[in-house]
C-alpha cells in the first residue's frame, strides 16, 4: 500500500467518523417537528449519513484490490499509442485516481513527481515534502505574528522568509518583491478599500 492509498484510507475513516457524529448530533437537533415536517436535524442527518455511508464504501473499496479500467479520456482519445509526456502523465494521473472519469476541475497538470525525482533546483521529493512542512509552519507563525507586529508587516516578513530561506532566492530581489507586494496590498486594501487591517500590538501600519 503506497502513502497516498494509506492517506486515502485514513481520510475515509475520518470522514466516516465525522459523518456518524453529524448523524447523532442531527438526531439531537430533531429530525422532524410537530406535524411530521422536517426539522433542523434533517439535513445534518441526511448529509452526515451519506458522508458516512460513502466513506465506508470507499474504505471497503480500498481494501479490496481491483483491476483498473481505461479512463473515459483514453477511450475518447483512442490513445492506444502513447501520447506525449504531459498528456500521458495527465491521463495516468486521472486513471490512477479512478477509472472511468474525466476531471473537469481546474487543477493544473504537472508531471507527477514521485520517488526520488529531482526538480530543477536539485531537490528531491523528501526535501520538497520538508519544504511544504516548513512553509506551513511559517504561515502559522505569520498568523500568530499578526497579533504582535500587525498584518502587513507580518506578511511582508513571510514573503521575504519564504523566498530567501525556503526558495533560496537572493536577498535583495526577495526584499524588493516583498516590499512591492506589501505596498500594492496597502494601496488596494487599506488606502482604496479602507479595510482596517490589524495593526498588532506595535500599531505601526
Amino acid at each position: 500500500m503506497t502513502g497516498a492509498q494509506r492517506g486515502g484510507l485514513i481520510a475515509s475513516i475520518v470522514l466516516a467518523v465525522i459523518g456518524g457524529s453529524a448523524v447523532s448530533a442531527g438526531l439531537g437537533y430533531g429530525v422532524t417537528v410537530e406535524g411530521g415536517e422536517i426539522g433542523p436535524g434533517f439535513l445534518p442527518v441526511l448529509a452526515g449519513g451519506l458522508v458516512a455511508v460513502f466513506a465506508v464504501l470507499d474504505i471497503v473499496g480500498r481494501l479490496r484490490p481491483r483491476r483498473a479500467l481505461p479512463s473515459q479520456a483514453e477511450l475518447i482519445l483512442d490513445t492506444v499509442d502513447a501520447p506525449p509526456a504531459g498528456v500521458a502523465g495527465y491521463l495516468a494521473e486521472q486513471n490512477a485516481a479512478d477509472p472511468g472519469a474525466v476531471s473537469t476541475s481546474t487543477q493544473t497538470i504537472h508531471r507527477e513527481a514521485e520517488g526520488d525525482e529531482v526538480d530543477i533546483f536539485g531537490r528531491t521529493q523528501s526535501q520538497r515534502n520538508r519544504m511544504l512542512g516548513i512553509v506551513l509552519g511559517i504561515v502559522v507563525l505569520t498568523l500568530l505574528a499578526v497579533q504582535l507586529v500587525g498584518f502587513l508587516i507580518a506578511f511582508v516578513l513571510m514573503l521575504v522568509v519564504i523566498a530567501v530561506f525556503v526558495e533560496r532566492r537572493s536577498l535583495v530581489p526577495s526584499v524588493v518583491v516583498a516590499l512591492v507586494a506589501g505596498g500594492v496590498t496597502y494601496a488596494i486594501f487599506v488606502a482604496l478599500l479602507r479595510v482596517p487591517l490589524p495593526q498588532g500590538l506595535l500599531g505601526l501600519i
Binding site: L15, L50, A68, D98, G100, T108
Partner: protein
C-alpha cells in the same frame, strides 16, 4: 429579445464596466497561463476585491477572468506542453508539436481565432436558449427545485473526476458544512461548538479561497518547480491554407463544446477531449494528428471555449453551475445578495443581459489582445514560482480578511487550505463539495417546503411528472457512463490486447 440586447449593451458599454471587463480578461489570460493558477483559483482570490463594485460590474470582471483563462491556458500548452488549465490538456498534443515545427505562431493564432468564433456562436445560442429555459424553470415549485438540485449535484459528481462514491461523499460533505450556524427557518444553532464566529455559518468565500488558492499552492510546493521558460518566436502570421483547414474543425468544435457545456457538470475539459477525438476520426489528414496538425489545435480550443460559455446556460437559467469555476461564480452571486436561479432573468434583467453582452465585448478584447500579444504574455512564465506563491498566499489571506474584517476568516482560509491540499493529494474532487456548500441552504429550504406540501412525506416528489423525469435523468447519468465505458472496452478488445499496456497501465506498474 432586442429590448434585452439593447438593455445589455447600454449596461455593458459604460466606461466603468468596459474597464473592469478589460481588467478581467487581462487578468484571466495571465491567470490562465500560469501553471498553478487556474480560473477557479483566480476567481476565488479576486471575489473580495469586487465587493465594493456594483454586482453587475463585479460579475462582468469575474466572468472575464473565467473565459480569459481559456485563452491563456492555450499559450502554455502550445509553448511548453504544460497546460495552464485542464481544458487545454488536449491542445498539448498537436499544439506543442506545431511549436516544435516552428509554427507556434500559427497554433496560437488559430486557437485565438477558433476560441473567438466559438465564443460568438455559443453566446448567440446562450442568449437564445437561456431565457426560455428560465421561463420553464419559473413554473417549478419546491418539488421540482429539489429534483433539479439533486440532478445538479449528481451531474457535477459524475463528471468531476474521482470515483462516483467519493464525489457523492464530497457533495454530502458540502451540504453538511452548509448546515453550520443558524439556518433560516429554524431557531437552533447547529454545529457551532459555542463559537460566536460560527453562528453565521461557514462563509463561502473563505472556503473557496482556502480550497482553491491556498490548497493549490501547498500542492504545488510538494510537486516541485518546473524549468523556467524561454521562448522566442517570430510572427503570428497564419496562412490562408491553414485558416481553410481549420474552418471545419472550429465549427464542429463549437457545436460539440456547446452541447457538452450545456449539460451541467460536463465542463470544458470533456468537450475538448471529445472534439479532438471526433476530429481525429473525421479528418482527411488523420495521419498528421499528434504530429502537429492545426485541426488538432483548432477543434479542442474552439470546443473548450464554447463549453465555457454554454456552462452559463444552466448556471444562469437553473442556478446549477456547469463546472468548478461557475460554481464559484454562483457563490459570488450569493455574496452580492443575489439568489441564483431562474428568477434572476425577471428580477435582474440589467445584470443578466449586461453580463451576457459583456461576454461579447470581452471576447473581442481577448482576440485583439491575443493575436499580437501572446508572445508578450508568455514572458509572464519567467516569474519564478518561489516569488509567486508567497504572493498568492498574501493575496488569499488579505482578501479573506477584507470580507469580514475578522481574523477568524483568515484562520478559516488556512484550515480549508490544508483541507484543500489534502483533497488534492488524495484525489477527492472539490467541485461537488463547493456545489454542496452553495446549494445547501437552498436545498434545505426546498426540503422543508416539499415536506410541508406533502405533510411530512416526500412521496409528493414522485407525483410530479417533471420531478420524476429529472430524477430519472439523474439516475441515468449516474449509471450511464459506467455502462458505456464497459461497452467501449468490450468493443475494442483487439486494440487493447495489441498493446497490452496502455499508458495508464505503465504508470501503474511504475508506481507499484
Amino acid at each position: 429579445m432586442l429590448d434585452n440586447l439593447a438593455l445589455g449593451f447600454s449596461t455593458a458599454f459604460t466606461p466603468e464596466n468596459l474597464l473592469w471587463c478589460f481588467i478581467g480578461v487581462l487578468l484571466g489570460t495571465i491567470i490562465g497561463l500560469m501553471p498553478g493558477l487556474g480560473s477557479t483559483t483566480g476567481v476565488a482570490i479576486l471575489i473580495p476585491l469586487t465587493l465594493t463594485l456594483e454586482p453587475v460590474t463585479a460579475l462582468i470582471m469575474l466572468a472575464g477572468i473565467y473565459y480569459g483563462a481559456q485563452y491563456g491556458g492555450t499559450i502554455t500548452s502550445v509553448l511548453i506542453s504544460t497546460p495552464g488549465e485542464a481544458a487545454s490538456v488536449v491542445t498539448t498534443l498537436d499544439g506543442y508539436q506545431m511549436a516544435k515545427n516552428g509554427k507556434a505562431g500559427s497554433a496560437l493564432a488559430i486557437s485565438a481565432i477558433g476560441s473567438f468564433v466559438a465564443a460568438i456562436i455559443s453566446l448567440a445560442l446562450l442568449m437564445w436558449l437561456a431565457p426560455p429555459l428560465a421561463d420553464l424553470a419559473l413554473n417549478f415549485g419546491p418539488v421540482e427545485n429539489l429534483a433539479i438540485m439533486i440532478l445538479g449535484l449528481i451531474i457535477v459528481v459524475s463528471f468531476a473526476g474521482g470515483s462516483l462514491s467519493r464525489g457523492l461523499m464530497m457533495a454530502a460533505a458540502g451540504l453538511l458544512i452548509s448546515t453550520v450556524g443558524v439556518a433560516t427557518g429554524f431557531s437552533d444553532a447547529r454545529f457551532t461548538f459555542g463559537s460566536v464566529n460560527l453562528l453565521g455559518g461557514i462563509p463561502f468565500v473563505e472556503v473557496m479561497i482556502g480550497l482553491f488558492a491556498v490548497g493549490e499552492v501547498l500542492h504545488q510546493i510538494r510537486l516541485g518547480a518546473d524549468a523556467p521558460i524561454r521562448t522566442r518566436f517570430r510572427d503570428m502570421v497564419i496562412s490562408r491554407r491553414e485558416l481553410k483547414q481549420s474552418a471545419g474543425p472550429i465549427l464542429r468544435g463549437s457545436g460539440i463544446g456547446f452541447v457538452l457545456g450545456i449539460l451541467p457538470g460536463a465542463g470544458s475539459t470533456l468537450a475538448s477531449f471529445m472534439a479532438y477525438g471526433i476530429e481525429k476520426r473525421v479528418s482527411p489528414r488523420k495521419a498528421l494528428f499528434g504530429k502537429g496538425a492545426i485541426e488538432g489545435v483548432a477543434a479542442p480550443e474552439s470546443a473548450n471555449n464554447a463549453a465555457a460559455n454554454a456552462n452559463f446556460v444552466p448556471t444562469l437559467a437553473l442556478g446549477i453551475p456547469g463546472g468548478g469555476t461557475t460554481a464559484v461564480l454562483l457563490g459570488a452571486f450569493t455574496v452580492y445578495g443575489l439568489q441564483p436561479g431562474p428568477r434572476l432573468f425577471e428580477t435582474q434583467p440589467t445584470l443578466i443581459w449586461g453580463l451576457l453582452v459583456s461576454f461579447f465585448i470581452g471576447n473581442v478584447m481577448l482576440l485583439v489582445l491575443n493575436l499580437p500579444l501572446a508572445p508578450v504574455f508568455a514572458q509572464m512564465l519567467r516569474i519564478p514560482y518561489g516569488y509567486l506563491y508567497p504572493i498568492i498566499l498574501l493575496t488569499s489571506f488579505v482578501g479573506a480578511y477584507s470580507v469580514s474584517n475578522n481574523m477568524f476568516s483568515v484562520v478559516l482560509v488556512f484550515v480549508f487550505g490544508v483541507v484543500g491540499w489534502l483533497m488534492k493529494e488524495l484525489d477527492l474532487p472539490m467541485a461537488p463539495l463547493v456545489l454542496g456548500l452553495v446549494l445547501g441552504p437552498l436545498f434545505e429550504k426546498a426540503l422543508v417546503q416539499t415536506s410541508a406540501l406533502g405533510q411530512g412525506s416526500f412521496g409528493i416528489v414522485l407525483q410530479s411528472p417533471i420531478s420524476v423525469t429529472i430524477l430519472l435523468f439523474a439516475v441515468a447519468l449516474m449509471v450511464g457512463p459506467k455502462i458505456a465505458a464497459r461497452f467501449a472496452v468490450r468493443r475494442r478488445p483487439a486494440a487493447v490486447a495489441a498493446h497490452d499496456s496502455t499508458p495508464s497501465d505503465r504508470q501503474h506498474e511504475d508506481v507499484s
